[in-house]
Structures are given as C-alpha cells and as structure tokens.
Subunit: 157 residues, 2 copies
DNA sequence: GTGGGTGCAAAGTGTTTGCAAGTGT
DNA sequence: ACACTTGCAAACACTTTGCACCCAC
C-alpha cells in the first residue's frame, strides 16, 4: 500500500541530509532503506540488526547517531511506551497525529487516529493556556476480543 | 487541601505492606512519609534525597526497591515523559485518570482531567476490540501565554 | 530465631561520546 | 584536501542485584 510513500520518504530524507550539508554514506543509506522498507515499529537494536543485513559494516554508534536525524526530519517518530528502550515509528509523516493502544498481554501495538480526539486535546490545551506542539495518547489495554478470535499471540516477540 | 487524604494514603500503604507480610522498617517509613507529604511529582533520586532528611540511613537501593511497592499498591503512579528517568506522582489514588501537559520550555507539568476525554478513549478502544486498563495522554506544548504572564520559568530546575 | 530487609558496591541496560582512521564531495 | 563520518571501546545515567549483615515480627 505504501510503497510509493515509502520511497518518497527515503527521498525526502536524503534531501534533508543534503540541505544540512550532511553526507550520504553507505551506512546511512543502508539504515534509511531499512527504515522505509517496513511498516513496523522498531527499536534501535532491531534497526541495527536489520541494517546490518544490508551492510554489515553498520555499527551501533552509527544507528544511534542516525536516529536523531530521522526524527529531526519529521519522517520517523520516537515513542516511549514505558519500556526501557525507545520505539520508533516510520509511519509518522503519513499520519502525524496517530495514537497507540498497547495490549499488555501480547505487546501488540495498534495505531488509530481520531479527529474528535485531536479537537478535544487542542481545546483543553488552549483553555489551560498552552500551545500544543505534539501529543501522544497511550492506552494500555487487553485485547480480550482478539484473544477470542485467536489473534492475540501471548508469546510476544 | 489534601492533608487528610495524604495521611489516609500513608495508612493504606502500611496496610498494603501488612497484607503482603512485608515489614514496616524505619527506612520504608521514612520513604512513605516523604512520598505522602508532598503534592509534587518526583524522581527516584529526589525521593532518596528527601527521605534521607528524615532518616539518613535510607539508601538508594531501598528507594528503588520500595518504588515498585508504591506503584503496585496503586497509590503512586509511575510516568514516562521521554526523559531518561521516570517520574512518580503521589496524587494518583485521588485522581486516577488525570493527564499531563508538559511545557517543553520550562519542564512545567500541569495535570488535568476530562470526562469527555475519558469517554472518547473508552469508545475508541471498544471499537478496536480492547478493554482499557489505563490511559496516559501526554501533551507537549509551550506555555506562551504563561510566559506573557511571567509564570513560565525558563530556568527549569 | 528466622525470613525478610538493608547498605554497599558491582553489574546491567540502553544510549552517548572521544578518538584515530576513513570517506563523500 | 577538508570536513564530516565511522567503528570501537570506554563512558554515562539510571536502575537492578549479589552478598553478608541486620532487624521486625
């Protein structure tokens, strides 16, 4: 579904590097291609592992140094779900205001958007005298219905 | 305002310990009294510092070992605002569904509650086939209006 | 008395950084 | 060539844990 969007994102990021006079190295290319060839959320460690399949010379340091560039470019979103590592979301540019429900049983993460929610958030913030820069709604839940349908995989990842 | 609620919370926690056959030591007493004598959010390190004023024998290890008990008891809420340390909120029992706006400029945290928000969240979750266990809305914002009123303290802490 | 609790310091974990060598432009 | 990048390993910041001693019950 998102093949075109993904290669567009890759393109955008390479432009972003150019504009900042940053170099397009083989390692960065491998990382960027990895990021924008998946729809999945990932951790820094996963990104390292996957990127190394494309270019085994990619180091942990380079991954950690590239992630801030990706988030700064606005194409990837950094999230915190209360685990001790951060989770990155490559779908950010397409859906900048999506929220997440996490199943506490199987760690499944489902994204959703809601205009009503956004409107309400802006309203509340304005009443409190703030200007919203970003919002993040995190709902921890159990997907009981999914379990009944056999879709909740307790084994986690 | 919350003096009665706070000593009630302390009481509840001591009961919680009893029920689990855990001991009420001087160190735990110092930590608990510290927690429930403030309205402020705090970090583990701050809790250590404050607790040591009551009992200098409190160690970092004991603080870190007591915090999970406090959250397990439901009287304190653990939160993650994307910093590299966790923030604890002793107001949880009184207002279990409050949300937070963080001013990115001065790190000020403002709590708020909204019934409409809760209703909306539950509705969305149900539609997606989840049963909500907890929700956490975090809004990052800038308190420009507050600055105009002189209430935004850029110096942070 | 005994099983849980404590302080200490060492170990862990995810992430950042100093440095010398390498490389895109 | 020059400045930006890299890999490595050491450094970091926060949190957890092994151990021998201690103490609430």
């Amino acid at each position: 579904m998102a093949d075109l969007e993904r290669s567009a994102a890759k393109e955008k990021f390479l432009n972003f590097l150019e504009q900042k006079n940053l170099r397009i190295t083989n390692q960065r290319r491998a990382i960027v291609e990895t990021v924008f060839s998946t729809d999945q959320h990932f951790t820094a460690e996963q990104l390292l592992e996957w990127s190394r399949k494309r270019d085994s010379s990619v180091s942990r340091a380079t991954v950690y140094r590239t992630l801030p560039l990706l988030t700064e470019s606005g194409l990837v979103h950094e999230m915190d779900f209360g685990k001790d590592y951060k989770i990155y979301d490559p779908n950010y540019a397409d859906h900048p205001n999506h929220n997440h429900i996490i199943c506490d049983d199987c760690d499944k993460i489902v994204e959703f958007e809601s205009e009503r929610l956004e409107t309400l958030e802006n309203e509340i913030s304005q009443n409190l005298g703030f200007t919203v820069k970003s919002q993040q709604l995190r709902i921890n839940a159990s997907c009981e219905d999914m379990k009944k349908l056999g879709a909740c995989n307790k084994k986690g990842h």
